[in-house]
Amino acid sequence: MELLPELAKLYPSDRLFTKKSQLITYETDGLTSFRSEPLAVVVPESNEEVIATVRLCHKAGIPFVARGSGTSLSGGSMPVEGGIVITLNRLNKILKIDPENRFTVVQAGTVNLKVSQAVAAHGLYYAPDPSSQQICTIGGNLAFNSGGAHCLKYGMTANHVLAIKAVLADGEVIEIGSESGDTLGPDASGFFCGNEGLFGVALEVTLRLTPKPQRYCTLLAAYNSLKKAGDAVSSVVDSGLLPGAMEIMDRLAIKAAEMAVKAGYPQDAEALLIVELEGETDAVEEDFKHLLALIENTGAYETRVAANEAERLTIWKGRKSAFSAVGRLSPDYLVQDGVVPRSRLGEALVKIETYSKEYGIDVANVFHAGDGNLHPLIMFNGKEEGALHRAEELAGKILKMCVEMGGSITGEHGVGVEKKAYMPEMFSEIDLECMKRVRAAIDPKEIANRGKMFPGGEAPALSTVGSHPLEKAGIISRE
C-alpha cells in the first residue's frame, strides 16, 4: 500500500505537509544535535483522524511519531526518518472539569500550564511542573512521565494520571484507568506512562487536580561551594521537612539565567539553593522558621526570602529559563538528566567537576537536588571538529557514574535517541529482552517511534521472541 495517497484522502492539503520547507521545521525538537526528515506531517483535528492515521501506518508498515510542542530534550519527538509525524497541537481542548471530584479530562495536545489556568477559578491546579510547562503538552508529559521542580513533594506525571484513552500502534483503541483512580488489578495507566511513544498515541487524558496551596514560602541561599549547597539539601531532608521543591544552580547556570531574565541572583555565588515550602498557612510559616534556622547553619553567606508572589515568581523564572539560557554561554550543549542517590550528591558533583577539567569542557549544573536528579549542561562548539563526539563521550562518562553510584541514566527527560546507547549500562540483556517482548506484544511491527529507547539500530531483535538466548544456551531456566 502506498501511504501518501491514502493520507491525502484523509487530510485536506493544508493539513498534510509534504514539501521540504514544511517538513524541515519538524526535523528536530529540543535536542537539536539530532535531526531527521519525515516523509510527511499530518495535522489531525479529531480523534478519528489520529486513529485512521495510525491504522494506515500499521497497514503500510511505515513508522510514526506523535508530536506535541516538540520540546523533548532526549529526541523523543524527533521524526523517524521516512516516517509520519502526527502533530496533536489542534487537539488541545479541555473536555471536562469536575472540581468536586478534582479531575479534568483533556485532549493530549493541551499545554500543561493551560490546565492549571483553566481550573484556577476552582482553587485547583495540575501539580507536575516541567520547566517548559508554558508550552509542553500533556501528551508528551504522559509519554515521558515528566517531572519538574515540585515533583519532589507531589510525584511525577504518573502520580497524576487517572485514566487514558489511546490508540495503540496496531490501531486498537483502549481506555484504561478510571476517574476515581481506583482500578482492579495492575495499574494499567501507570504502565502506559513513560512509554516514550512506543505503545501508540494518547488521545484523551484524565488528570488529577490538586488544591492550590494556601501559602508558599520561598528562600534563596547563596554558597561559596557546590558541596556546601549539596550538604544543605541533605540536612533539610534529614530534619524531616518536606519542601515542595529544592533546586540547586551552579556558577555558570546562575550567570546564564541572570543574562536571560535578570532575576537578581547573587552573581558571585558558586551555588544557589532554592527551597520552597507550601501548604496550609500556619503549618508552612511554622516550618519555614525551622528551615531558616537550619539554613543558617549550612554555611550560606547570603539568604533571601521572597517577600511576595512577584519575587517568588522571579526566583522561579530564572531557574526555569536556565536550560535555554545556557544558549547565551555556548552555541551548543547537551542537557543531561542523570540521577544519583541524594546522599551522594556532593560526591557526584565533585566527580563531574573532575571530568569537566579532564576533558577541558565547561559543564553548567542545574538540578532537582531534593531527588538527586542532575542536569549537567555540557557545552561545546559544534563547528569544532569532533567537539560533539567529545561532549557525548563526557556525557556518557557522567551517565555511567550515575549508574555506578546506584542511580539512573534518566530522571525525567527519557531515553529517546540520546541515551539509548547507555541502556545496557543500567539494564541487563535479560531486562532489555523483557522490555522488547512487551513492546512486540503491543506493536508487532515496531512502527511507533521506531529507533528510540532501545540500543542499536532499527527494529531490534524481533527474531528473539521465543526462548531467551540465555535459555537456549542453558544458562538460565524457567523451572
Partner: protein
C-alpha cells in the same frame, strides 16, 4: 543551532541574518507568545520554525519562494524576543530577511500596487490626509472596490480631526530640565494630532523645551518593517539631517517609530552614514522612557477618578523592552487606578500594515485583544502607539459603551490641566 550559511556572501547584514540562527536552541519557549502559532498551531508559522526556515533558505536547500508565506504571516510583534531565554535577536533577523526577500521575490500585481499605494501615502502626512479623505468618499462604494483594498477602507475614520498647529519651539515651564526634539509621526499627525499636542504640554510641564524640526521626514519604520529598504533609507536620511545636534534626545510618541529607529543599525549596515544613524538611534527615546528617566514632576489628581487599563504595544514592550515607564507614569497620577489585562503579551493585530495585508488574522487578534481589555471593565484604555489605537478603536465599535482609547501622555496632560 549549527548552520552552514556562507556568511561572507551576505555582506553587511550577515550578523543580523545569522545571530538568531546561532543563538536559537529550539526550546520552544517562544511558541505560546506567537500570535500566528496560537492561531494556526504549525511549526512553520512559529518563531523557531521561521528561524529554521530562514536558515535553510540561506543555506540554499529551500528556495526563497517557499519561505515567503510563513515569513509574510509574521506580524513582527517581537513577543518572542521577550519570551526567549537564549537571546535570539529575532527583530533584526526578520527585518534583514524581509529586505532580502523583498529584493528577490516576484510578486503579483495586486500586492505590488497595494504596497506601493500604502508606502507612497502613509509616511507623508499631506498625502495621507488626502488619501484618507478620498478613501472616506469611496467607502460607501466599498463593495465595488478590489478585495485587496477593502480592509484598508475599513480602518479609515469617518471624519478627520482638525490638524494641530505645531510651533518650531515649544518652551519649558519653570526651570529648564532638558531640551529635546520631537518626531511628529506621519499617520498619527493626521489621525490623532492631539497626541503631539499632549506630548508638548507634558514635556513643558516637566521643564523640557521641545524643538519640532520643520523639515523632518518619516523615520522609515513602515517601509523597513515591510522590507522596502531603499525607501526607508531615503526618508531616514532626511530625518537624521533634520535633527539638531544640541538636543538631549529625539522623542517618539508612536512605538512603531521608536522601534524602527532602533533598527537603524540594520538598515544602515555597511552604508557610509552608518555611524550617524546609530548615534541618532542611541539618542531616540519613547516619551514614557524619557519622562521616567528625568523623573516626573508630580501631577495633580484627576478631577474625577478613573480606572485605566494599559495595553502594551508590541513595539514598545517587546521591541523596546519598555513596560515599566508607562506604568510608573500612570500610577503617579492620583485618582487613577491602573488595570492589567490578561494576555498582555499577545499582539492586537495592528502590526504596521499587517491589518491591511492579512485582515483575517488581524481581525481574530483584534477581537481577542478588546475582549481581554474589556474584561477589566475600564473607564479608558491607555497605550503608546497609533497603530494599536486605530485597531483597538475599530474593534471597540461593537461595544455599546466603548471606553475612550488614549495615549498615556493624553491622560497625563489631562491630569496637569485638571
Amino acid at each position: 543551532m549549527q548552520h552552514a550559511i556562507d556568511k561572507a556572501s551576505l555582506g553587511p547584514k550577515s550578523k543580523a541574518l545569522t545571530q538568531g540562527v546561532e543563538a536559537c536552541v529550539h526550546c520552544g519557549f517562544c511558541l505560546p507568545t506567537c500570535p500566528t502559532y496560537d492561531e494556526m498551531g504549525e511549526e512553520i508559522n512559529s518563531p523557531r520554525g521561521r528561524i529554521f526556515l530562514i536558515k535553510e533558505v540561506l543555506e540554499g536547500s529551500v528556495p526563497m519562494e517557499d519561505a515567503l508565506g510563513p515569513i509574510d504571516n509574521c506580524l513582527g510583534c517581537d513577543a518572542c524576543i521577550t519570551a526567549c531565554p537564549s537571546g535570539v535577536e529575532y527583530d533584526h533577523l526578520i527585518t534583514a530577511f524581509r529586505a532580502k526577500a523583498e529584493s528577490e521575490r516576484s510578486q503579483p500585481l495586486g500586492r505590488k500596487l497595494m504596497r506601493s499605494m500604502i508606502l507612497n501615502t502613509l509616511p507623508y502626512p499631506n498625502r495621507a490626509k488626502w488619501a484618507f479623505r478620498a478613501g472616506g468618499l469611496v467607502r460607501p462604494f466599498k463593495g465595488l472596490m478590489p478585495k485587496s483594498i477593502q480592509p484598508a477602507l475599513d480602518l479609515l475614520p469617518p471624519t478627520l480631526p482638525k490638524a494641530e498647529y505645531l510651533p518650531e519651539i515649544y518652551p519649558a515651564k519653570g526651570p529648564r530640565r532638558g531640551r529635546v526634539a520631537l518626531l511628529t509621526g506621519c499617520v498619527q499627525q493626521v489621525l490623532a494630532p492631539e497626541i503631539n499636542r499632549a506630548t508638548l504640554e507634558v514635556l513643558s510641564a516637566n521643564g523640557v523645551e521641545t524643538v519640532i524640526p520643520k523639515d523632518q521626514a518619516c523615520c522609515g519604520a513602515l517601509a523597513l518593517h515591510t522590507g522596502a529598504e531603499k525607501r526607508a533609507l531615503k526618508t531616514a536620511r532626511q530625518l537624521i539631517r533634520s535633527i539638531p545636534d544640541d538636543v538631549d534626545a529625539l522623542i517618539t510618541n508612536a512605538a512603531g517609530c521608536g522601534s524602527g529607529i532602533n533598527e537603524y543599525s540594520i538598515l544602515f549596515a555597511g552604508e557610509p552614514d552608518e555611524a550617524e544613524a546609530i548615534a541618532l538611534a542611541d539618542k531616540t527615546k519613547d516619551i514614557s522612557s524619557y519622562l521616567d528617566e528625568i523623573g516626573l514632576i508630580q501631577p495633580p489628581p484627576l478631577a474625577e477618578s478613573m480606572n485605566v487599563v494599559y495595553h502594551d504595544a508590541c513595539h514598545l514592550a517587546h521591541a523596546q523592552g519598555e513596560r515599566s515607564a508607562p506604568r510608573n507614569i500612570l500610577t503617579a497620577i492620583p485618582n487613577l487606578t491602573l488595570l492589567e489585562p490578561p494576555d498582555w503579551e499577545i499582539c492586537c493585530g495592528s502590526a504596521g500594515i499587517y491589518n491591511i495585508e492579512k485582515p483575517d488574522v488581524a481581525r481574530a487578534l483584534g477581537e481577542k485583544k478588546v475582549t481581554n481589555l474589556m474584561s477589566t471593565e475600564p473607564d479608558a484604555v491607555a497605550l503608546g502607539n497609533i497603530g494599536c489605537m486605530t485597531q483597538i478603536q475599530k474593534h471597540l465599535e461593537s461595544y455599546e459603551k466603548a471606553p475612550p482609547v488614549l495615549h498615556t501622555v493624553q491622560i497625563l496632560a489631562k491630569a496637569y490641566s485638571d
